[in-house]
């Protein structure tokens, strides 16, 4: 079965999210859509899936034109979708999730799961998915949860499978398994649309690559193209994927964490007895799959968490038990994982966001008075220095793109006199241009002799920046390694296989 899109156009107000996009995928083919965040990939797929209606253009399946008003229509046409954020109910079993919305009932409304269970087992065996229909979804690893999503599409006879950024939440091992599974699905004659901004994966799996930029198809490429070639097509200019880094000039020990243990308010241990240190002039990257305790460690470094035991010394001063404001005062720059939630106040102006944690110091304040004019003046300097693209510093932070939001946070944190930079997932959701900027800036801080503690789930980022790599798994640091460690080995550590050799903490 083949899916063909012709001239798909979608406007939101004055913005053209999709501009006359042509795209086709045939059965037994994996066709990747490559584009940056905001290029219009998700809009396009939401149109195919029936969540959005196009302003112009046609969707055809096997040469027959279709009108798709809702996901039910697309499902009926044989199009299945695996969303980036899974649409599963965590406390339900696999089978219950899969029948959801299509429940068959017996006498007196009794739910009939038997057929669904059989079907799940059949598909699971056919593709080696290893999914137990009676498992509770929240107990399953993310990679298996994704397979549940795929089974759900297959069980309703999807011949075209759309995967939206499917590897964003997976470990490197899970990613490999997914790619293998997709190859099996291709052999079974299904058409697969693989949406991603990750060059490596697209090259590894796709038969054809369509590149989208600013809502337009800017070209097709073959998987044998060079990464740099794909990147420049995606971004629209030459891109330097390498971060230039001089050898580290290691200085004194700035951060020393010993036996740090963090519990949640119910007493569950989230981080278990970890120890590490960061020296001036180096980047220690804490790698690991999302949700293995990294966020909690980052928060504990700034006094943002309760129920913390152990010791965190910054230049030999204990910060556990200190207030956030005192930690900042000690010279810690903190770039939180979630810009939207913790890094910025979206209704505040850009200028106000630039002084969020310095608003009580001169020249912004004196004897409790607050001087907006001084704030504005400094804001203009910062906007220039950090190349923040905004019409006016009085505009609200919500008007900025993701990259510019991150620049605001960086500009604020790095303009204070700091000796330790704690930075979590600094390039999540950013475009390539902003990623380059953020990476360069982090290296600059390191070369300036600051200690940098980087939390990242992106292996490319870890390799580009780290002088040493600590790997977290289930609340523990299971290894600290040199950046020469191979991807395979690092991936195994991230999956919790700790029998490998590595430099211990």
């Amino acid at each position: 079965m083949s899916l063909e899109l012709q001239g798909i156009t979608k406007r939101f107000g004055g913005l053209v999210a999709n501009d006359a996009i042509d795209f086709a995928v045939a059965d037994g083919e994996i066709h990747a859509i490559l584009g940056e965040n905001g290029a219009g990939k998700s809009t396009l797929m939401n149109i195919v899936y029936g969540l959005l209606q196009p302003d112009a253009g046609t969707i055809s399946v096997d040469g027959k034109e279709l009108t798709i008003h809702s996901p039910l229509d697309s499902l009926a046409a044989g199009i299945g979708m695996v969303h980036q954020h899974f649409m599963l109910i965590p406390v339900f079993t696999v089978a219950e999730n899969i029948v959801l919305g299509h429940e068959k009932t017996g006498l007196f409304g009794k739910l009939d799961l038997a057929t669904a269970r059989e079907e799940i087992l059949r598909i699971s065996q056919e593709f080696n998915f290893d999914v137990n229909p009676d498992a509770i979804v929240e107990d399953l690893p993310v990679g298996i949860q994704q397979r549940v999503e795929i089974i759900r599409a297959l069980i309703y006879d999807a011949k075209v499978l759309i995967l939206d950024e499917p590897t964003a939440v997976l470990t490197p091992q899970e990613t490999d398994e997914l790619l293998n599974n997709l190859k099996k699905l291709r052999e079974s004659g299904r058409a697969i649309v693989f949406i991603s901004h990750k060059l490596r994966e697209v090259k590894a799996i796709a038969d054809k690559i369509t590149i989208i930029r600013r809502g337009k198809v800017v070209g097709m490429a073959s998987p044998s193209s060079e990464q740099s070639e794909l990147a420049s097509l995606m971004v629209g200019r030459e891109v330097d994927l390498k971060v230039d880094k001089e050898p580290a000039k290691i200085g004194r020990e700035v951060l020393k964490v010993s036996h740090l243990t963090i519990q949640d308010h119910t007493g569950r241990t989230l981080v278990n007895n970890i120890s590490f240190h960061v020296n001036a002039g180096e980047v220690l990257a804490i790698a690991g799959v999302q949700g293995n305790g990294q966020s909690e460690v980052a928060e504990a470094m700034l006094g943002l968490r309760d129920h913390v035991a152990g010791s965190v010394l910054v230049d030999e001063q204990e910060i556990i038990g200190k207030k956030v404001v005192d930690c900042l005062e000690l010279g810690i720059a903190y770039v939180p994982e979630s810009r939207e939630l913790d890094g910025l106040i979206s209704t505040f102006s850009i200028a106000e966001n630039l002084i969020l944690d310095t608003h009580t110091s001169a020249p912004y304040a004196k004897f409790g008075r607050y001087f907006p004019d001084a704030v504005k003046k400094v804001a203009l300097e910062r906007v220039a220095e950090f190349d923040i693209r905004a019409q006016s510093v009085a505009d609200s932070a919500s008007s900025l793109s993701g990259g510019n939001k991150q620049k605001v946070v960086l500009a604020r944190e790095l303009s204070r006199p700091v000796k330790l930079v704690i930075i979590s997932q600094p390039t999540r959701g950013l475009d390539v241009g902003s990623i380059e900027f953020v990476h360069e800036r982090i290296v600059t801080e390191r070369n300036d002799g600051k200690a940098v503690l980087l939390f990242s789930t992106e292996l490319d980022e870890v390799y580009a920046l780290a002088d040493r790599i600590a790997i977290m798994f289930k609340g523990e640091i299971i290894a600290i390694a040199e950046p020469t460690i191979s991807r395979e080995e690092l991936g195994l550590f991230m999956a919790g296989v700790s029998s490998q050799k590595g430099v211990s903490a």
């Binding site: 999210a17 219009g40 700034l302 207030k323 106040i345 106000e352 969020l356 944690d357 919500s398 008007s399």
Partner: protein, 388 residues
């Protein structure tokens, strides 16, 4: 804040008010027996409908601002007696509105203005009738007592919220009941019972503690309105020109980002509730010292509850609250004239107030059905993008 942004903020409340008047007019017409009796003949029905509604709103205006009947035979200015009544009622309403508004700024919903008002009235009244002090000093001490009592009353809510997470809405509602019944009990004690009286009524406020009337004894309008407007200005200063205000706005807009930036959410919560309580207490003082001159069981009327409406209609800003409190005081004062002159029940005013809140609280009603866009932030689309 410039004129343009004030104007933009005024669009939604103005539309809401106009709509409320329109629907209120329908209610007036359709509940009037004389109008309904003409329902069989369309032309005279429309005529009497229009004249009934028109007369009702005219009476409302006369009762709230200017009544030519009062001016007849006297000086023209005599006709403004209703305006004096409106302003007298607007002053405490304004302060209570600011009390609710400042809590909004910190992301708190202060339903407790009523109870805080009562505590303030108690404090001001006691100092006002119990002590013999020189003028001005007497007033200042009475006001001080009112603010301290009510600030503690409000601050207690903030403390509970900061330390235990108790929701301020529940706590303030409960404290309103406690305050009202505390007042009732207090008025029965020998310290507060007026000599020679058995009903709950405190002794009159001493002359030395009464607020100065602005236009002679015939008009009750007094310096209270100046105090209130000045406090509204202080409110603006505090919020926009002080580091405390910056922190307050930060906590209200995104407490988790504020916390990450080293701002103590707990300190702001307690401090804001202290200020909010003090503002409502000042309202109670001004009402007792400037207009009532005595403490009664229902001294607070519905000031504390109307204040929520006022803060909503005023969109939580000082200018808005000043205007909204004048408007609502006018409605309340004019409503009784409307009932007296054209027999439209005073409750219609409550209907109009309720409709205003409904239209404000559900702006989608206005934006969607009247196709008015970009009322508040015109950049929502640009900020959220289209790619989810």
């Amino acid at each position: 804040m410039n004129v343009k942004s004030i104007a933009r903020k005024a669009i939604l409340p103005s539309i809401a008010f106009a709509l409320a008047l329109f629907v209120g007019g329908l209610v007036i017409g359709l509940t009037d027996s004389r109008v309904l009796s003409k329902i069989s003949s369309p032309i005279s029905f429309i005529k009497i409908f229009a004249s009934t509604v028109g007369n009702a709103y005219l009476a409302l205006f006369q009762g709230a601002i200017f009544d030519p009947n009062l001016a007849e035979g006297h000086s023209f200015l005599t006709g403004f007696y209703p305006l004096s009544q409106t302003v007298v009622n607007a002053a405490p309403l304004m302060l209570c509105g600011l009390s609710v508004a400042i809590a909004f700024k910190a992301g708190l919903f202060n339903i407790g203005a009523q109870g805080q008002f009562i505590l303030g009235a108690i404090g001001a009244s006691y100092v006002g009738f119990h002590f013999k002090l020189p003028i001005v000093v007497h007033i200042l001490i009475a006001i001080f007592a009112a603010i301290v009592l009510s600030a503690l009353w409000g601050g207690f809510v903030g403390l509970l919220k900061a330390k235990t997470g108790a929701h301020e809405v529940i706590v303030t509602i409960m404290l309103n009941y406690i305050a009202a019944n505390f007042l009732l009990w207090l008025l029965g004690t020998s310290a507060f019972l007026r000599p020679g009286r058995l009903d709950p009524l405190a002794p009159p406020i001493a002359e030395s503690a009464r607020l100065l009337r602005l236009f002679g004894q015939n008009y009750s309008v007094n310096v209270g309105i100046f105090i209130s407007v000045f406090v509204a200005f202080l409110f603006w200063l505090l919020i926009n020109r002080s580091t405390w205000g910056f922190k307050t706005r930060a906590v209200g807009a995104n407490s988790s980002a504020a916390k990450t930036a080293g701002i103590s959410v707990q300190k702001i919560t307690v401090g804001t509730m202290l200020i909010a309580g003090g503002l409502s207490g000042l309202a109670g003082a001004i009402h007792v010292l400037g207009f009532q001159y005595e403490l009664t069981a229902d001294v607070a009327g519905s000031f504390g509850f109307d204040a929520i409406t006022v803060a909503l209609l005023g969109r939580g800003g000082p200018v808005g609250v000043v205007l909204a409190s004048l408007l609502f005081a006018g409605l309340r004062v004019g409503g009784s004239t409307m009932q007296a002159n054209v027999q439209v029940p005073v409750e219609i005013v409550l209907v109009i107030q309720a409709l205003v809140v409904l239209f404000i609280a559900a702006p989608g009603l206005i934006t969607r059905y009247l196709k008015i866009k970009n009322l508040e932030s015109g950049q929502e689309m640009a900020s959220k993008g289209w790619n989810g």
